[in-house]
Symmetry: C2
Subunit: 289 residues, 2 copies
């Protein structure tokens, strides 16, 4: 069994990026600049944005954090997005989701210039990815593809089963895995809440990507010996032994599943660090344009 | 076994559209107007475009056919697209594919105003469909969804197997079938040229959508009793008994597969007429915007 060490891989990639940034600067160019809009004070969102800002530092990027309170209007947010779209000193930016209920998330996403949409959430980028055209690919699926590539996981002709059909993980993951590319060229099955026989389908999978958000959902009896298991789940579960009172748990019963696998990602330290890393790669790409 | 009669359904829908157009006109509005750009004189393309023009007539639409010779430049085509984008008297238009090799198809598609892209090929429309936002859905998958709806084929929790991963059929078909909607909510598997065990996978399918372009590919031994089989294939095969010397053949060995099915579409007269019908529905929608 090979543990896919997302933390280590992400660290390597960030070093590679930092080297490129140094080279850029030695040519007299400015470093890439990522901006993030954060609305409110949700604990999870605060952590995610803080980690993104930190990653920018590690890559030698400039970062800007733009904060709004929970009661910010949609119009005010759209105004800020327009400003960022027009600001030549900003290469890419993200709006941390979720947003408060009175704001139309899709309207906000559509307002972002697709050329600066480093999260890859704008319909143009979603469409380009589906068609196989250049653009920004959503960070989590892009990070998973990078892990498969760097660990040399064989994908061609393999049966990949994606658990979950969300817009930011399940659907783009399925699209990327089926594309005529390497990694890719998988037969892909997408399962979700309306699938009656997920267990049986998983048992036939060479690759499982679990993105349901149900802690410990994928159990040992669902995994074929020699399978590759990618765990996208990150649910906070109570843990009295931690100072915080909680720990992250994935969608996979890691302890019992891992011994059967050819490759498996842990939680934390698997997909999570790669997601932020993809955002950095997208920002570098945006700067190069 | 129920034969899904696409020709009959398409005729009904065109009548429904024609009634709406009459009502529009009685309110003093002009009828919808579809334009088509045709490059060269390819037999297949000529037939498709002629059928589209004919369907416009049946729906009470205005239609315009704009012809260019094979040696037209990309710039000239882009100019024409710009003109159509700006022409308020044109609600939607299509560029009949394939285009000659010296023209970048994707560049042409991207030049079309997404609001007039009634073929649903522009990345924005592809992305909107994937996310589940309003927009134009590619005509063939939209037509198949309409057939499933009108024939009351149960899809929720069913296993749909899509054969083929093209941008205009396989991929959007998979996306539509997995959406949380009715029809939809299927577990979806996409198979393609790199899938080693298509036969075995098809045998587990409740619904098969065959879009490989390989005549007679789906044989009786690949179909579970009671399955629904949708045949997107339309290959011209030699037929000495016809005046033309050829006939259309689907991806399904209809004669032997049909008796096992709950529902099946014939070729011709199944998906084909519905594809043109979806284009009419999209044009009506474009006019209403």
């Amino acid at each position: 069994m090979t543990l896919i060490d997302g933390k280590k891989t992400a660290a390597e990639i960030k070093q590679e990026i930092a080297a490129q940034v140094k080279e850029m600067e030695s040519r007299g160019e400015r470093a890439p600049h990522l901006a993030a809009i954060l609305v409110g004070h949700d604990g999870g969102s605060e952590t995610y944005v803080a980690n993104k800002v930190k990653a920018c530092g590690e890559c030698g990027f400039r970062s800007s954090l733009i904060r709004f309170e929970d009661d910010v209007t949609e119009e005010r947010l759209l105004e800020e997005i327009k400003r960022l779209n027009e600001d030549d000193a900003v290469d890419g930016f993200i709006v941390q989701l979720p947003l408060p209920k009175h704001i139309d998330e899709q309207r906000i996403i559509r307002a972002i210039d697709p050329e600066k949409d480093v999260d890859g959430f704008h319909p143009v980028n979603v469409g380009n990815m589906s068609i196989g055209l250049p653009g920004f690919v959503s960070a989590t699926p892009a990070g998973i593809m990078e892990l498969l590539r760097r660990y040399g996981v064989e994908t061609k002709g393999k049966h990949a089963v994606v658990l979950g059909r969300s817009n930011i993980v399940g659907k783009p993951m399925a699209t990327l895995l089926m594309q005529k590319s390497n990694p890719g060229n998988c037969t892909v099955t997408v399962c979700h809440s309306a699938t009656p026989n997920i267990k049986e389908i998983c048992r036939e999978a060479d690759i499982i990507v679990a993105a349901l958000g149900v802690p410990g959902f994928v159990t040992e009896d669902m995994v074929k010996p020699g399978a590759t298991v990618i765990d996208v789940g990150t649910t906070r579960v109570p843990d009295a032994t931690r100072k915080s009172g909680w720990r992250l748990r994935g969608d996979v019963d890691f302890e019992n599943v891992a011994p059967k696998c050819a490759f498996i990602t842990p939680v934390p330290g698997g997909v999570g660090p790669m997601t932020i890393c993809s955002l950095m790669m997208n920002t570098l790409k945006a700067k190069k344009k």
